[in-house]
């Protein structure tokens, strides 16, 4: 289930990407804020008290304020006063009337960093006194922070550590949560995958997704039940047809072989016999293809001599009364070489037999058929080649793609169900092999089957 792992890996990576993007965006927004604040002169929250002080001059105990200083104060809506060492106001500008004109040392100490009657206060030490500037209430926020110097560095390190721990914790929780989702989803996705291949599904019906699992189990059971019903029906029909067909075959054979009967009757019996044989083959093919399709055919795999299996398949056909127009040959590409594979002998012989018979069916006027066996790159290669009329390019393409196989005969021909090649493909698949149809040279059809060979020690 690599696709599922890939899906979750991609999901985690994309989420990490989103987190990184989120942080970058935040940094960008913060930067933008500072730029905008800078443009809006927000950074100059501190009143330019030093500059103001420079514009207030004392001359023989008289204070003079120039126009620029007045403008600074007016811009901020501020007032100003100068206190002497005794706490008496010796100069003032726009000082609200309700404020006292004399301050004790305690009062000066109290407002110097915070507020004087709700007026945020800035102070500046001059040679001739203490300049105090009061800003409108609510215009400036004054806070006073005090830390022991020894705490500052650990504090900064702590902030960094907390940030990193938060980041890691977030990543851990996220991955853990994803893993949990993955753990819950994986069986479901596997179940869907199995269903798509027509295999049975059995998921545990517990946990948060129990309902989905239960639904999938029901869907799987339903599909299997449907397949089984179809398979049992086909098997039942084919079973019920066997005995009557045997009787037909025997009587037709007897009538055809009775020389005392009129030739026309014997010929008709011969036709019944041949048609019954076709029905017999159809029943057999239909049964086998259904069982292979629904994995009901037990595959008895064993170590086999591929050359001997091919010989057996060929001899079975040669031992029948084969029409004279066909020439059957066997070719061992590496004579004496032992080619071993693991497979079901009966099915492999059936596969080769079907291919040879396919060549015969498609070339009723006769052809030369060669069955060869070879060992190539760790694969056992069976090739069935004929020099008959071959197949069209479209038909070859259709056979080489994994499309369903229809009848390979023309509509004018007698009954032919197209199951022979389907069975070949199913048997090859059951043995983890490949089959390829191509044009033989100079003419005809070439079918090449590659099955994994057992490696020689």
């Amino acid at each position: 289930m690599k696709s599922i792992e890939r899906f979750f890996r991609r999901y985690i990576l994309s989420t990490i990407g989103i987190l990184i993007l989120f942080f970058l965006l935040n940094i960008l927004l913060l930067g933008a804020y500072f730029v905008i604040a800078g443009l809006g002169n927000v950074k100059n929250s501190n009143f330019p008290i030093e500059e103001l002080s420079r514009h207030i001059e004392a001359d023989s105990g008289q204070f003079h304020i120039d126009a620029q200083a007045e403008e600074i104060l007016a811009d901020s809506g501020a007032w100003a006063m100068i206190l002497n060492d005794s706490g008496i106001v010796i100069w003032e500008q726009d000082l609200p009337a309700e404020l006292p004109r004399r301050y004790t040392a305690t009062e000066v100490a109290m407002f110097s960093r915070w507020y004087l009657d709700d007026y945020p206060v800035n102070i500046w030490k001059r040679t001739d006194g203490l300049l105090v500037v009061g800003l409108p209430p609510g215009d400036i926020a004054n806070y006073y922070f005090s830390f022991k110097a020894g705490y500052i560095r650990p504090l900064l390190a702590g902030i960094g550590a907390v940030f990193c721990i938060n980041l890691l914790l977030m990543a851990y929780l996220f991955i853990r949560s994803t893993r949990r989702v993955e753990k819950a989803m994986k069986p479901i996705l596997e179940g869907i995958h199995q269903l798509s291949e027509g295999k049975p599904v059995s998921l545990e019906e517990k946990g948060e997704l129990a309902e989905i699992n239960s639904g999938l189990n029901r869907a799987g059971d339903y599909l299997i039940k449907k397949d089984n019903t179809r398979a049992v029906w086909i098997r039942g029909i084919s079973h019920d047809i066997r005995t009557p067909l045997s009787v037909i075959l025997m009587y037709a054979s007897e009538i055809e072989g009775t020389s005392a009967l009129p030739p026309a009757t014997r010929r008709q019996a011969g036709i019944i016999l041949r048609q019954s044989e076709k029905l017999k083959n159809l029943v057999s093919d239909l049964n086998l293809t259904t069982k292979l399709e629904y994995s009901m055919q037990p595959i008895h795999k064993e170590r086999l001599n591929a050359v001997e299996s091919a010989r057996q398949a060929l001899s079975e056909i040669l031992n029948e009364e084969m029409p004279e127009q066909y020439e059957l040959e066997f070719s061992e590409q590496q004579p004496g070489k032992e080619i071993t594979l693991t497979g079901d002998d009966l099915l492999l012989r059936r596969m080769l037999s079907n291919l040879i018979r396919n060549s015969m069916i498609h070339n009723p006027s006769g052809c030369r058929i060669i069955l060869s066996v070879a060992l190539e790159n760790g694969s056992c290669i069976f090739t069935v080649t004929d020099d008959g009329k071959g197949m069209s390019e479209d038909r070859l393409q259709e056979l080489n793609q994994d499309k369903s196989i229809t009848s390979t005969q023309e509509s004018t021909d007698d009954i032919e169900h197209g199951l022979g090649l389907k069975i070949v493909r199913q048997i090859v698949k059951a043995h983890n092999g490949t089959v390829h149809f191509s044009v033989a040279h100079p003419q005809g059809l070439c079918v090449r089957i590659a099955l994994p060979a057992v490696k020689e020690l």
Partner: protein, 231 residues
Amino acid sequence: MYDKKILIVDDEADLLEALSSMFERAGYRNILTANNGKSALEVWKKEQPDIIILDVMMPGMDGFHVLKEIRRTSKVPVLMLTARGEADDKFAGFENGADDYLVKPFLPKELLFRVQAILKRSYPKQEKRVYLDASTVDLEKAEVQRDSGIYPLTAKELTLFEKLYQNAGRIVTTGALCQAVCGEFWQGYEKTLSTHLRHLREKIEADPSRPVSLITVKGVGYRLNLKEAQP
């Protein structure tokens, strides 16, 4: 061979009649029939047939049970004839002691050949001499008579000849012949096999370079052709 008693058991009356008719037409003179398991056992006990053709699916006692009952006391050859074509059914038949298993529908000739082959295998002593075009092989004495000369067969030549004779007229693959001599592990014996068969051919053929009795089917195996009219 044609005087052997054949018991045919099947619950389908039409098939039973068709089978009897087919064997009679083929020359067999002693045909017995039974249409269920119980009467099959009765006929078997009373008549002691030489071969039984037994259907599997029958009402009451099925073919496997009949076979089990027979195998308790007898080694009579039994060919199972059934509509159950699954591999596991075949294995069950062989495990119960069947000699052969044929799935319906079958070709009449195939059934005849199989019965013939079983009878040959099961009653070999009655077929002591095998007549070929140029020679006669005495299986009991393991010797060939040709042109008023006697040529003894080695043990391996005799084994090979018997295997070919059991399948006379049919191709026996190289592997099957090697297996007859060496058993399961016959790989690499092919060259030695061809030497044995060359020697056998020198004994049974008038002209070994142009054989008529022991025919090579190139790449596949060998076929033994009997003299058409066996005395």
